[in-house]
């Protein structure tokens, strides 16, 4: 006798069988795809975890998206993307070990490392093993000849700094500028190039030697003497996202009324929680998610990232690009999949539509002016202003 219970049972069994068959179908389709391993070597633990985590999560989100939609066709083959990760803990020795692991696994394209010393340390391993890597580190020697395997993954501060200072000088009447930086190689080198740029623009530099330990929790003592000098612009050189809200809050609470900026990417939620309305007007460099410029694909990326990891990180607006560049360049020249020399050849002429920006923006390699060769991703230089929990585009620049 057919009763309600047995009907429900049959329906449930049917549904499970259908799902199982569908899953088998999908997995066999995916199994037919080849695997393309892309590496990540960067910091995903410790005080600087935010830098690498946003990197690797961007890659994982994009890879999952590509794999879910059937993989990526490169030449005659279709590939699923497999992200191979290694946490270098911001330690150059571990970064070398990470790059060696990538070489052992046959990976030819690696995103990272996140900091200057790690990026410099992995260079010999990458060059000896035919690996192209995409650091988020600014030393020019990594990208100038004879070096040829490193490709800068973002806008360098010596590219964005002058543009920001010039804009603020012309539009906001900035005359006096002060710099404060963490006592670490990346922020200090960013401060030095910022000071040079400010001098070139004829700005009066009222403070440039003030530094702090990166693990400082209370910045009031650090900023007390700087605020007393009343600069028009306070530059937080190379500031880590964790420290930015604390510095902003301390400066404002001390009565500072001028502008505050940085050349590193920040996260709106972190600023909102840490500095609240004090962060209004804070200027930083972002990527492609402000409503004014984000394409539907970028919006979907943000949604997928949020679904996958619970919360989006605005730093990923820039870090979404590296994997896209690798895949699109390999699509343009499939021979590069196991031959980085082919990849390098393609970089000189490569051009593809930028899926993350509205309009007809292009993906291309740049850096000729800064490095004498195309060893930089063309990422939009979006200068943002924080306002009430979100970033607004102040202006968009570019690097050649």
């Amino acid at each position: 006798m057919i009763n309600r219970r047995s009907t429900l049972k049959s329906m449930a069994l049917g549904a499970v069988s259908t799902l199982a068959l569908a899953a088998l179908g999908i997995s066999s389709a995916q199994a037919e795809n080849k695997e393309l391993k892309i590496g990540f070597v960067g910091v995903t633990s410790g005080p600087a975890a935010a830098w690498g985590t946003s990197n690797v999560r961007s890659m994982q989100t994009r890879a999952a998206w590509i794999n879910e939609t059937g993989g990526v066709k490169i030449g005659n083959d279709t590939y699923n993307i497999n992200i191979v990760t290694f946490d270098d803990q911001k330690d150059p020795k571990r970064a070398i070990a990470g790059m060696e692991k990538m070489a052992q696994e046959g990976v030819h394209y690696v995103v990272g490392p996140n900091v200057d010393d790690g990026a410099a340390a992995v260079r010999p391993v990458a060059e000896a093993n035919g690996i192209i890597y995409f650091p988020y580190a600014f030393p020019k020697a990594l990208y100038q000849k004879p070096a040829s395997n490193a490709v800068l993954g973002m806008i360098a501060n010596y590219q964005s700094g002058p543009a920001i200072y010039k804009y603020l000088k012309e539009n906001k009447g900035v005359k006096k500028i002060a710099f404060v930086a963490a006592n670490e190689s990346d922020p200090l080198s960013q401060r030095d190039s910022g000071v040079e740029a400010a001098k070139a623009l004829g700005l009066e530099i009222v403070a440039q030697n003030d530094t702090y330990q990166n693990d400082t929790r209370d910045f009031t003592p650090v900023l007390t003497p700087i605020v007393a000098l009343k600069p028009d612009l306070l530059v937080l050189s190379g500031v880590a996202p964790a420290n930015a809200p604390l510095l902003i809050r301390a400066a404002r609470e001390l009565g500072y009324e001028g502008l505050i900026s940085t050349e590193t990417a920040q996260d709106a939620k972190v600023l909102e929680e840490g500095a609240g309305e004090y962060a209004n007007g804070f200027i930083s460099v972002g990527g492609a998610s402000t409503p004014e410029i984000a394409s539907d694909a970028m919006k979907e990326f943000v949604a997928r990232y949020t679904k996958m990891f619970g919360e989006y990180n605005d730093e990923s607006n820039t870090k979404v690009y590296a994997l896209e560049y690798i895949i699109e360049t390999l699509k343009a020249n499939p021979a590069a999949i196991n031959d980085v020399a082919e990849f390098k050849k393609t970089m000189d002429t490569f051009s593809a539509p930028n899926p993350f920006l509205k309009g007809d923006a292009k993906l291309s390699y740049v850096g000729t002016t800064s490095f004498g060769q195309k060893r930089q991703l063309s990422v939009p230089m979006v200068v943002n202003e924080y306002k009430d929990g979100a970033f607004q585009t102040l202006f968009v620049g570019s690097v050649d």
Partner: protein, 288 residues
């Protein structure tokens, strides 16, 4: 100069409270708790969740931080440190265990709360600005609360039955045991109190400095520094160490600012010279 002194006093109160829990655990069990900073971070994240995310009153959040960390501390003592102390006579065994728990907490906190810096709404708005001193009201409240907590802790240790028992343990473990003090019980209570203090101060300071998963290690190092200045295992020493470090930091960052980041270089150099003269710190002896 008034501002520099005010900054130093505020930092000192905050640092002293951080160091108290560490020195208590050291005094009672001779354990250098490398996970102290991670306990602080966990306390901060609990307050962030309860106050910042769930919207419950700040006092409830602070209580939740303190109670949770006290329970964690008690469990750590009972199941980890007590066992190791019983089975090993080598002091480095507990140090290795403490370091391992620090790494464990780091990983768990990163997994649970993510990589981002977190902050909560200010508990008091507005800024005091008079007589050459600028000090946000929330810092004044937190500084005052830190002093109240320190005073309450000292009074509790001085006059309560539990406090007296713990002081006896710290002075002479064997003699205390012979006098009927239940070593296991009071060691567990002491460890729980040390952890609770770390949790409470983490919860308190999340309103000022926020919290992120990576700051546990640096917080522990700073706490060790204060304990070294004041003398390991001495409550008064931890308080003195905290205020001295806070004042040195505040004065150094103003006076030495033109020379770059030399403040901590000077502090470390001064500490080396100081420890070579007074290896036990300012008050380096057990309570008594």
């Amino acid at each position: 100069m008034e501002q520099v002194i005010a900054n130093g006093l505020y930092l000192g109160a905050q640092y002293a409270l951080i160091a108290l829990g560490l020195t208590l655990i050291f005094a009672l069990m001779n354990v250098l708790n490398f996970a102290h900073g991670q306990m602080y971070v966990l306390g901060g994240f609990i307050t962030y969740t309860v106050y910042g995310q769930l919207g419950l009153p700040f006092v409830v959040a602070l209580l939740a931080s303190g109670v949770t960390l006290a329970v964690i501390g008690a469990l750590m003592e009972k199941f980890l440190f007590r066992t190791v102390i019983r089975r090993s006579h080598r002091e480095e065994s507990t140090m290795l265990l403490a370091a391992a728990t620090a790494f464990f907490f780091d990983a768990v906190i990163l997994l649970l709360f993510g990589e981002k810096q977190r902050g909560v709404p200010k508990i008091v708005k507005g800024v005091f600005n008079d007589a050459g001193i600028i000090m946000p009201y929330d810092r004044i409240v937190v500084g005052a609360l830190a002093i109240v907590f320190i005073a309450a802790f000292v009074l509790y240790m001085q006059y309560s039955r539990v406090g007296r028992a713990m002081r006896a343990l710290a002075q002479d473990r064997v003699a205390a045991q012979l006098m009927g003090v239940r070593v296991d019980r009071y060691s567990m209570i002491g460890f729980a109190m040390g952890a609770m203090l770390a949790g409470v101060v983490g919860g308190l300071l999340v309103t000022i400095t926020g919290v992120n998963s990576g700051i546990g290690g640096p917080i522990s190092i700073k706490a060790f520094l204060m304990v070294m200045i004041g003398g390991a295992g001495v409550v008064g020493g931890a308080i003195a160490g905290g205020f001295i470090l806070g004042m040195m930091e505040s004065v150094g960052l103003t006076v030495l600012r033109e020379y770059g980041d030399v403040t901590y270089l000077v502090i470390f150099a001064a500490l080396m010279v100081f420890l070579s003269v007074r290896p036990n710190g300012l008050m380096g002896k057990p309570w008594g």
